[in-house]
C-alpha cells in the first residue's frame, strides 16, 4: 500500500486514480491496520464479499486492471506490483509494469501497453460454469463462517478450490480463516506444486520494447 501512495502522488495529478480493494473476508478487522499505516489519499475500499474478484474473475492478489476514461478495460487482470518488497519471493521486478503505467498515463489509448480488443478477449477469462459454481461455493463458505459455522464452511471452501484450482484467493483466504491443517496442505506446498515461487505469479505480459524511446 505505501507503494501505491507513492505512485498516486506522482501520477494522481495526471488524471490517474487508484482504487485499491481489500479482499479480506474479515474486512476492516484484518485489512484496516495496513490501510491506516499507509495514509492513502486514493480510494482504499473494503470488499468483505470479494465482489471485485467475482466480477472480474480474479484469482490472486495483487491483481491490477487498467480502466480508461470511458470505463473500458485497457489492460485486464495481471499481477500488479508497484514496489519490490516481494521480489525475493516472486522474482518479479516492478519497474517494467510501472514504466507501462506511466506510458499509459501519458499517451492514453495510443500507449503500446493498451491492448486491442482481440487481445483483450483472448486474455480475459470466459465465464466457465465450474468457476461460477466455485464462486457460489466460496460465497456460501464465507457466509457460514461469518454466521459462526466455520466447520460447516470448510467443505464449501474445499469445493470452491476443487472447482477452480486456478484461484489462489480461494486457498489463501480459506487458510487464513482457520489454518492450513484443515486443508491438509500448506501455502508453501501449494506454491511448490505450482512450480515454485518464481512462477507462482505469472509476469505481466508487457509488449517487447514498449515504452522505449525510438
Amino acid at each position: 500500500m505505501p507503494g501505491w501512495q507513492a505512485i498516486y502522488q506522482e501520477l494522481g495529478t495526471k488524471n490517474l486514480e487508484i482504487i485499491s480493494v481489500a479482499q479480506d473476508t474479515n474486512g476492516v478487522k484484518d485489512a484496516g491496520q495496513w490501510i491506516t499505516a499507509a495514509h492513502p489519499t486514493y480510494a482504499a475500499l473494503i470488499d468483505e464479499k470479494h465482489l471485485v474478484s467475482k466480477l472480474y474473475n480474479m484469482v490472486n492478489v495483487p491483481t491490477g486492471v487498467w480502466i480508461n476514461e470511458l470505463g473500458k478495460i485497457a489492460r485486464p487482470n495481471e499481477v500488479a506490483f508497484v514496489d519490490d518488497r516481494f521480489k525475493t519471493f516472486t522474482g518479479l521486478d516492478s519497474a517494467p509494469y510501472l514504466a507501462g503505467l506511466r506510458d499509459w498515463v501519458e499517451k492514453g489509448d495510443k500507449s503500446s501497453y493498451v491492448m486491442g480488443e482481440d487481445q483483450l478477449r483472448g486474455k480475459m477469462a470466459a465465464n466457465d460454469p465450474n468457476f461460477m459454481l466455485a464462486s457460489a461455493e466460496f460465497g456460501l463458505g464465507e457466509h457460514l463462517y461469518k454466521a459462526g459455522h466455520l466447520t460447516e464452511a470448510i467443505p464449501h471452501f474445499k469445493e470452491a478450490q476443487r472447482l477452480n484450482p486456478k484461484s489462489w484467493n480461494y486457498k489463501r483466504q480459506a487458510y487464513a480463516l482457520s489454518g492450513e491443517r484443515d486443508y491438509g496442505t500448506t501455502f508453501a506446498q501449494e506454491v511448490e506444486k505450482a512450480g515454485g515461487s518464481k512462477v507462482y505469479y505469472p509476469a505481466p505480459d508487457l509488449p517487447a520494447g514498449a515504452g522505449k524511446k525510438p
Binding site: M1, W4, I7, N15, L16, E17, I18, I19, S20, V21, A22, Q23, D24, D30, A31, G32, Q33, I35, A44, L45, I46, D47, K49, L51, V52, K54, L55, Y56, M58, V61, P62, T63, G64, V65, W66, I67, N68, E69, G71, I73, A80, W104, G108, E117, R121, M124, N127, M132, L133, S135, A136, E137, G139, L140, H143, L144, E152, E159, Q173, A176
Partner: protein, 166 residues
C-alpha cells in the same frame, strides 16, 4: 432373513422416493446479492428451493409481475409454456421455484443441506462479458463507511488493484 432385509431395503427406497418427491416445509437461509435473509416458511423439493412471492420479494427484491420476474427496470420474462413450472399452487398458497429461476438467469447456486442455506451467485447480467469489454461497476465502502462506485470515476484513468492482508 434375506426376505426381511429385502423388505427393509424396499421400504427405505420407497421412503427416500416419497421424501424427495414431496415438498418439505423448511426454515431456510437465502443468501442473495450477498445478503442473508431468514425464511421461516420455505419448501424444499429435490434440492430446489420454493418461496412464497412475499418471501421472494423480501429475500431477493424480485417481484412476480404479469410481464415476468422484475426488480425495477430489470425484468426476466418467464417462458410462457413453463410458467406453471415456476409457479405452483399448493395448500392454498402460491410457491415460486427460486432454483429454477436461477437456472433461467444463468446464476450458480451453492447449497448447504444441513444448515438449509442457499447461496445465489452473480446472475448472467451482472457478470463481466467479453462482448463489450466494459469494466463491471461496483460500489464498496472505505474504512469510514463512505461508499465509492467505479462509475463515479468516468473521465479519469483508473488503476483498479486488489490486495489482501493474508
Amino acid at each position: 432373513m434375506m426376505r426381511g432385509v429385502r423388505l427393509a431395503f424396499s421400504l427405505l427406497i420407497l421412503f427416500l422416493t416419497v421424501r424427495s418427491t414431496f415438498a418439505r416445509h423448511i426454515r431456510a437461509t437465502i443468501i442473495y446479492d450477498d445478503v442473508a435473509t431468514e425464511v421461516a416458511n420455505a419448501e424444499e423439493q429435490n434440492g430446489q428451493i420454493w418461496l412464497t412471492p412475499a418471501d421472494l420479494e423480501r429475500a431477493t427484491h424480485f417481484e412476480i409481475k404479469p410481464q415476468g420476474v422484475c426488480r425495477g427496470v430489470l425484468c426476466f420474462p418467464l417462458p410462457k409454456a413453463k410458467r406453471q413450472e415456476f409457479l405452483i399452487e399448493r395448500e392454498g398458497k402460491t410457491w415460486f421455484d427460486l432454483s429454477a429461476f436461477a437456472e433461467l438467469v444463468n446464476q450458480s447456486v451453492a447449497h448447504d443441506e444441513a444448515l438449509a442455506a442457499w447461496y445465489f451467485g452473480l446472475r448472467g447480467d451482472q457478470r463481466q462479458t467479453l462482448s463489450h469489454l466494459e469494466a463491471p461497476d461496483f460500489t464498496l465502502p472505505d474504512m469510514g463507511g463512505k461508499l465509492h462506485s467505479l462509475s463515479e470515476y468516468r473521465g479519469k484513468k483508473v488503476l483498479l488493484v486488489t490486495w489482501a492482508s493474508w
